[in-house]
Amino acid sequence: MSKIVKLFKNNKKDKPPKAEIITEQKEPEPIPTTKCGKPLVLDNTRWEKRLQKELMSLIKEPPPGVSVDEDSVTRNLSQWKINITGFEGTLYEGENFQLLFKFNHKYPFDSPEVTFIGNNIPVHPHVYSNGHICLSILTEDWSPALSVQSVCLSIASMLSSCREKKRPPDNTLYVNTCNKNPKKTKWWYHDDSV
């Protein structure tokens, strides 16, 4: 059990985040194939089926403050724009934000790539000014049982619990040097100063 304990002790989430860039790697092939070179047809159809299902549910029963930009999805099922409104009684009350979700063919085994886009990037200690978000379920703690909806809810709750509008302490450095894809960042969910 000692491994677990150590892991948890290093994993204090409410400290300010610190981001670090991982060297650029080869982009994954667009169509996944098995070792023998046979395309994983099953995965492709499941991937689409799952996204369609999530989309229907999000359109029919959107969580409060969340709406899908249906035009964006019609154009491309692997990129969704989602509008999110700051809740009443929070620092972001009445503000409108837009999230971009990108999915690859390994979804839901790979997490979606999620960033804030547009003119209004929330000023928040876990959101960089380029729209990258430091949220563990988007990398380390992603599980295939999570969904677009649960990610939206986590982001909404992250915004709601904010007590002071400010950027992460390493914002300038990170924004100037990071990869376009936030999943290529090694996120530190703990405080490095200890």
């Binding site: 677990i4 948890f8 995965d43 499941r46 563990s136 599980s143 295939p144 999570l146």
Partner: protein, 261 residues
Amino acid sequence: MENEQNDNVNRDELIMQQQRDIEREISDTIPLVSEKLPVNCLNAEYIGDAVFTSKIEDLSAKYSHLRRTRPDGNCFFRAFAYAYLEHLISNKEDYDKFRQLGENSKDKLVQLGFPSFTLEDFHETFMEVVKRVDPSTSNPDILSEQLHKIFNDQGYSDYVVVYLRLLTSGKLQEEADFYQNFIEGNFTIEEFRHQEVEPMYKESDHIHIIALCSALGVGVRVEYMDRGEGGTVKAHDFPEGQTPKVFLIYRPGHYDILYPK
């Protein structure tokens, strides 16, 4: 000064990341579940190593074969599922019980608060796999071959792993008061489930094994083989006292399937 220190930390982290990438690449070339191999094939990994050689000899006295699983962090779940389904192929009574339990498990997880929305895909595929080894549909050889094929198809294999992770997580939640005792520090069962159980590729510890075994009512014997003294492997049954149906070998960080003589 502080910046310099940070740079050093970053470089270390980069090296570690590269190391992980290399490990992932190696592991991806190993099949998800291998063919049956004689137990003494392990000797090749420990040539000239007296401790392990003597332990492999001890292991060979009790077990004839093993099956390797891909070291991708999911090995306990994959090995468990494969070994138990293989047992069910020739045990109609256990099979029927397990299939019923599997059918009912989804509603139970939904009651525990898992979103039926994402759960149902995994449950459906899990049950499809269970149905494909139904002993009343074919002879054991054909079913075993089928099982092996299914478990080496990532599209099925990983869905089964996810579902077992969810069942494990469900059990931890259901008996949170009990399992909380196994977790030290100020961490809740909730955090543990979301960070160490539900995500893919996170390695399993005793707590995962105990929770899954109790959720499914299946006994597992794990033979521990490490650098420890004594020259013999050490068996541990989960839950204690239950007749094991699944046999696994644990070497630090990894589980493979064993076949008793």
